[in-house]
């Protein structure tokens, strides 16, 4: 009950005129980011983070999270109209969305996509409202060993669940952790890994890494592919919208299943992209019209969009309740909290009620506003894509540079951004996942601190991570997640032997 009261307080905060304005600006910027190739949720939010330095933390998080919702919506526009996924999680939307657009049913596809996104997000926000405070209350009892075990679980699930080769995930993750250790050691106050370079004293900021890896790297990949836009017609009118809305309830099973898949994949840090593919695949197998998937089936738009938004939104749950972000964008938002002087983690729910519930309330309203904005402004956003890449690319580069500079007002950061960008291009081409690296840079210090504190308490014995039921369970879950592919394979073999 207390949660409902808090939520209404949150709505009161969000409905202040300034916050409503911030919300709309955020969504508009977000959709533009989602539409533009080379700018995505994570680096878009990172670039725009400096804009919020002069705002109150609550307005700031509303703006940034609305940019994120906008980017999630925007990805669908390019996938359906141009067959170019603006975001990795909208790749699955192109399978049926673009054929629909080519058959002249673009309006229908867009309405279905936006509405499903909204449904997915709403489901996830309700889950956050109900579950996050409980998780936070539970997590308040965590000591250093439990904290480390949560990080351990998060990173192990990355290795076990990613579709990239596991040792490439490990390498990418460990490089992220190593980058996080550069500079001042927070426990002993000693300098390390700086090798005498004064520029490295403050270490590597993960925002710079995000802007470089995802922003510059993505532009290089786009250039290599040599983009050409062949767009469908972007007209959408009220009649089509209502017709589609009348049709959508028929797919409620698909929708509900996609919500659950999305939330699960978002909370465990698998992320929106695998969620959308998995949801599409299952919908294809379960649907009566599954054979027609790929030729413009509206259910094939509903499934991936619902799951992607549910995953993208629920990725904020562990970020809010535990201080462990479920996706790179959630990591950037967590970085924002640190910059605004807030300590992410379970204490937020106790000490920063206005902030947390303002954010949760803004998720409800932001997604509703987002739905209305994208439905009414699709032609406008589609027009942005018709601006040639040779004009858009340098402008994106300029914004990346400005974003990287203004994090610390430091020229060296801009250089590092370019280095990260070129590295990101090679890593992406060679199939190294970038998300674990970014999360490791963000969480490296905290993970190390809790690890060392635990060892300090136990005089260096690793048994501290199995010293009580709670920490032991979380560590065991982590190990299961880590070896999941092997366990799965063994299970299949055992079953094969049993049947033979």
């Amino acid at each position: 009950m207390e949660e409902i009261v808090n939520l209404f307080h949150g709505f009161a905060v969000v409905l202040q005129p300034f916050n409503i304005m911030v919300m709309i600006v955020g969504i508009l910027l977000g959709v533009i980011i989602g539409v533009l190739p080379g700018l995505g949720g994570a680096n878009g939010v990172a670039i725009l983070l400096p804009l919020t330095f002069s705002m109150s933390p609550t307005s700031a998080i509303i703006m940034l999270s609305c940019i994120y919702w906008g980017a999630l919506f925007g990805g669908a526009i390019t996938s359906i109209l141009f067959n170019i996924p603006g975001e990795p999680w909208s790749v699955a939307t192109t399978f049926d969305g673009h054929p629909m657009a080519r058959q002249g049913r673009a309006g229908e596809a867009l309405t279905a996509a936006f509405t499903s996104s909204f449904v997915g997000a709403l489901f996830a926000v309700i889950v956050i409202t109900l579950v996050a405070p409980l998780v936070a209350r539970f997590a308040l009892q965590f000591g250093p060993a439990e904290k480390f075990s949560v990080y351990f679980l998060a990173f192990c699930s990355f290795i076990g669940m990613s579709k990239e080769p596991p040792f490439k995930t490990v390498a990418s993750m460990m490089i992220g952790f190593a980058l996080a250790t550069v500079g001042l050691d927070s426990v002993t106050g000693q300098l390390r890994l700086t090798f005498g370079f004064t520029e490295l004293l403050t270490g590597f900021d993960f925002l710079i890494a995000v802007i470089g890896l995802f922003g510059i790297g993505e532009i290089l990949l786009t250039m290599e592919e040599g983009l050409s836009f062949r767009g469908g017609n972007a007209r959408i009118n009220a009649k089509v919208v209502f017709q589609t809305w009348a049709e959508l309830p028929r797919y409620w099973v698909t929708s509900l299943r996609s919500c659950v898949i999305g939330c699960w994949m978002g909370i465990t840090p698998a992320g929106a992209t695998p969620a959308s593919f998995m949801s599409y695949g299952i919908a294809k197998r379960m649907s009566k019209r599954g054979d027609n998937f790929g030729n413009g089936e509206i259910e094939g738009v509903v499934a991936p969009e619902t799951a992607a938004h549910a995953a993208g939104t629920s990725a904020l749950l562990p970020m809010l309740a535990l201080g462990v972000p479920g996706s790179p964008t959630a990591a950037v938002l967590l970085g924002g909290l640190l910059i605004w002087g807030l300590q992410p983690g379970p204490l937020l729910f106790v000490e920063q009620k206005e902030f947390v519930w303002g954010l949760i309330a803004s998720m409800y309203l932001g997604n509703l506003f987002g739905l209305l904005i994208v439905l009414t402004c699709v032609p406008l956003f589609a027009a942005i894509l018709r601006i040639p890449f040779s004009i858009i690319a340098p402008i994106i580069l300029v914004f990346c540079a400005i974003g990287a500079y203004s994090v610390h007002n430091n020229n060296f950061d801009v250089v590092m951004m370019l280095v990260f960008g070129v590295a990101g291009y090679f890593l992406k081409k060679c199939n190294y996942p970038l998300a674990p690296m970014v999360l490791a840079i963000v969480l490296g210090d905290k993970a190390e601190e809790s690890f060392r504190q635990s060892l300090l308490g136990s005089q260096g014995s690793l048994t501290v991570f199995w010293s009580n039921g709670l920490v032991g369970t979380i560590m065991a879950l982590g190990l299961i997640a880590l070896f999941w592919p092997l366990i799965q394979e063994a299970w299949v073999r055992v079953r094969a032997m049993a049947t033979a």
Binding site: P165, A178, L193, G226, Y405, C430, E448, F451
Partner: protein, 167 residues
């Protein structure tokens, strides 16, 4: 375009070679991390584990996983290309101007450097007329100035032109 790419399909660096290069870089990185950790001490001190304790094992893990990756790459060797030369040329067409741009920012200020970068892209990659080039390349920095410095009060690096204008 399709015809052209068929003729040049076999030209370009090999994927396996590039993968090995990336693994080599990571191994080097791991070795640097181990070296740096050894400098500050990796054992147990009065304050608990020393500063190099955690990064040392990270470096070890980087090297171990790079070794496994190396073996897997060698086992899955193929003739696949990393990218065609034409594609790499397009990538370099972004990397080179951006490098110059980044190097120019501390001296020319971000506004002038940005205008030059946009103009260069529009001229060489887009082949636009000068009037459009001037409009976009001057318009974006001016809009950025008004938005960031005036509205959001975020200072950006400035150069001689801004000094001259007294901004």
């Amino acid at each position: 375009m399709a015809e052209k790419s068929q003729h040049t399909r076999l030209a370009g660096p090999s994927h396996t070679g590039t993968e090995i290069g990336v693994v080599a870089f990571m191994t080097l990185f791991g070795a640097i991390v181990i070296g740096g950790s050894l400098q500050v001490g990796i054992d147990w001190g009065v304050e608990g584990p020393k500063a190099g304790f955690f990064p040392f094992y990270l470096g070890v893990l980087i090297i171990i996983s790079s070794a496994v990756n190396f073996v897997q790459i060698m086992m899955a060797r193929s003739d696949a290309l990393f990218a065609e030369w034409g594609q790499l040329r397009r990538v370099l067409a972004v990397v080179v101007p951006t490098t110059i741009y980044v190097a120019l920012i501390p001296y020319a200020g971000i506004y002038l450097a940005s205008a030059l970068l946009i103009a260069a892209f529009m001229k060489w990659l887009g082949r636009y007329g000068w009037s459009l080039i001037v409009a976009v390349s001057a318009g974006v920095p001016i809009a950025t100035y008004l938005l960031l410095e005036r509205w959001f009060l975020i200072p950006l690096p400035k150069g001689p032109i801004e000094d001259f204008l007294g901004l």
